[in-house]
Symmetry: C2
C-alpha cells in the first residue's frame, strides 16, 4: 500500500522531468455542468499526459545496470510515449508494444521519440512485452499495477491539493487504477475534506463491480470510445488503495463521452482525448450529481487526439442552454 | 492618455463580471518556438474573449438614465458578444451591428445572449451603429478607441505582471490598439523590465506604418484570416499610448496564422481563434526573434472558432522537429 511519503519522494525525484501543470477555472462550463468547474490540465504535461509522472518515477528507481539494458512496456499510447520520452532523456533504449487499435497519432509520436515500436492485438500486449523483457533483459515498466507508478501519478494529486485546497471534489478517469490510486492517496492525506470520485466506461465496469464485491473482478474485455481506459480488471496493487481512498466510482455510457469532449473543446477551449472527458460526460448527463455551490475539478488526463477525431464531433449534439 | 490608475480602477469595477484568466506554461511548444512559452488564456474569459473587460468597464461607467436607453455597438464578433453579455447582466437592451463576413458561430452567440442583431457590410458598420444610436438614444460602445475600453483591456496586463513577473516579453495581437494600449500601459507601470510586442496582419500594417511615420496612417481595407484584427487605422486615443509603451510591432503574413493556430491546438491543446494565434505564428516563422532562455507570454485573446474552421487545419503543415 503506497503512502503520502512515497508520493512526496516521487515528487522530488521526478521534478526535473515534468511540469507542474496548471489547475484552471473553466467558468464557461458552469452553466452546462451546474457546478463551479475547474480543470487540472495534465494534457499540458510533457508528452501530453499524466503518464510521464509514473513512468519516470519507476525508471529513475531502477538500478544502473538494469537501466543500461533498457526498458520495455505495453501501452495503449500515452504510457508508451512517457516511457519512450523518459528513455530518451536518460539515454537508454526503449521498446514499446502498442495495440493495433491505438490511434496512428500515438504510434507516430512514440517512434518520433526514438523507441522501437512493436504492434499486436490488445489482448496479447502484456505477453509480447514479457517476451521482449526476457529476450533483451530489459526492465518491464508496467502501466499501472506498480507502487512506484502509482506514487508517480499521485504527484498530480499533491499539486491539486496545493493549487486549489477548497475543492469539493476531484473527478478522475479510471482504468487499471494507477492514476486514481495515487491521486486519492495524495488528496486524502493533503486535503482530507476533498472527495475523490472515479469515472469509468460503463462497458468496462471493472471498479464498480469489484468495489461491490469487495474483491477484484474481471469483466469482459471490450472496446470503448475512451480508448485509454481499456483495462478489464483493477490492478492488484491499485485495488486496495482505491478501496481505501476513493469515495465513489461512476459508470459512464459510451455516447456521453464525446459530448464531454465537445463541450470541453468548444466551450472550455481545451483539447483533450475522449478518455480524459469521461468525468465531464458523467456530470453533463447527470450521472455524477453536483450542485451549483460545489467546486469540482476534472482531472484532464491527456491530449493525444488527431484532427480527424475532432471532425467527428460535428455530429455530436450538446444540450442547449436556456 | 490612460494611466495605471485608470486600469486599477477598471479592475475594481469589473471584478464581479470577469474571471482572472489563467497564465499557463505551455512547455510542449518550446521546441517549436525556441523559447519558454507561456499563454495568458483570455479565450477562457467569460464570453470567450478579452473584450468583456473593456465593454463592461465602459458600460458600468455610463449614467443611469443612459443605461436605461440601452447600448449599441459595431463589432466583428467578440466585442458584440461582450456588449450583449454585459447588457444581459445589467438588464438593459443591446443592439449589435455585425459585418456580414463574421463567422456564423459569433452571430448566433450574440443572439443567444438576447441582443438585437443587425448585419451589414464591414465598411458600413460604424455608420449603421451611429444611426441606431441616434434613433434609440442608445449609448455607442466603441470597440477600442476609448479610454475606458482601453483601461478595461489593460486589466489583462495587470494580471500578467502579477501572475508571472519574470517574463521577458508579452506578445499581443493588434488591431485598433485597444488591447495592446491597455496591456502595455499596465505592464510598463507594474513590470517595467517586461517588453511588450505587437503582432498585426502584414496585409493590414496600420501600426508599423503609423509608428514609422509618427502619426496615424490609414492603410487600404482588406480581409485577413485574422478576422478579429480588421481595423485599417490606429485608434486616435490608442495610437499615442502604443507609441509610448509598446516596444515593437511585427507584421505577420497570412499563411503563418493558421500554422500558429494548429500548433497551439495540436501541441498546446488550447483552442483559439486565428487572430489570437498571430503572435505564435510570428515566432514560429522567425519574424519575431526569440532565444531559448527567454520567457515569452502570448496573449491568447479569444476562442470564437467553429469546428469547421478546425477541419481546415488538416491541410496546414507544421515544421517537423528534428
Amino acid at each position: 500500500m503506497i503512502s503520502i511519503s512515497d508520493i512526496r519522494e516521487a515528487a522530488d525525484r521526478i521534478n526535473p522531468y515534468i511540469v507542474k501543470t496548471p489547475l484552471v477555472r473553466l467558468a464557461n462550463l458552469d452553466p452546462y455542468l451546474g457546478c463551479q468547474v475547474y480543470g487540472k490540465l495534465e494534457n499540458l504535461q510533457v508528452t501530453g499526459a499524466f503518464k510521464l509522472r509514473g513512468a519516470v518515477n519507476k525508471i529513475l528507481s531502477l538500478p544502473q545496470e538494469q537501466l543500461e539494458k533498457g526498458v520495455v512496456c505495453a501501452s495503449s499510447g500515452n504510457h508508451g510515449k512517457a516511457v519512450a520520452y523518459s528513455a530518451k532523456r536518460l539515454g537508454i533504449p526503449a521498446t514499446v508494444v502498442i495495440p493495433l487499435t491505438a490511434p496512428a497519432i500515438k504510434v507516430e509520436a512514440i517512434r518520433a521519440l526514438g523507441a522501437d515500436v512493436v504492434q499486436c492485438e490488445v489482448s496479447e500486449r502484456f505477453r509480447v512485452a514479457a517476451e521482449i523483457r526476457d529476450q533483451k533483459g530489459a526492465a518491464l515498466i508496467p502501466p499501472y499495477d506498480d507502487e512506484l507508478i502509482m506514487a508517480g501519478q499521485g504527484t498530480a494529486g499533491l499539486e491539486i491539493a496545493e493549487q486549489q485546497p477548497d475543492l469539493d471534489a476531484v473527478i478522475v478517469p479510471v482504468s487499471g487504477g494507477g492514476l486514481i490510486g495515487g491521486v486519492s492517496t495524495a488528496i486524502k492525506a493533503a486535503a482530507p475534506d476533498m472527495k475523490v470520485w472515479g469515472a469509468e466506461p460503463a462497458v468496462l465496469p471493472r471498479y464498480t463491480e469489484s468495489l461491490k464485491k469487495g474483491e477484484r473482478v474481471q469483466v469482459p474485455a471490450t472496446k470503448t470510445i475512451a480508448d485509454a481506459l481499456v483495462s478489464n480488471m483493477p490492478g492488484e496493487r491499485c485495488f486496495p488503495v482505491v478501496q481505501k481512498n476513493v469515495d465513489q466510482v461512476f459508470d459512464i455510457p459510451e455516447d456521453a463521452v464525446l459530448k464531454g469532449m465537445k463541450l470541453l473543446l468548444t466551450e472550455g477551449k481545451i483539447l483533450a482525448e475522449p478518455s480524459s472527458c469521461i468525468g465531464i460526460a458523467g456530470v453533463l448527463t447527470g450521472i455524477i450529481p453536483v450542485t451549483p455551490e460545489q467546486k469540482i475539478c476534472f482531472l484532464i488526463s491527456g491530449g493525444s487526439v488527431g484532427l480527424n477525431q475532432i471532425a467527428q464531433l460535428e455530429n455530436v449534439e450538446l444540450p442547449k442552454l436556456s
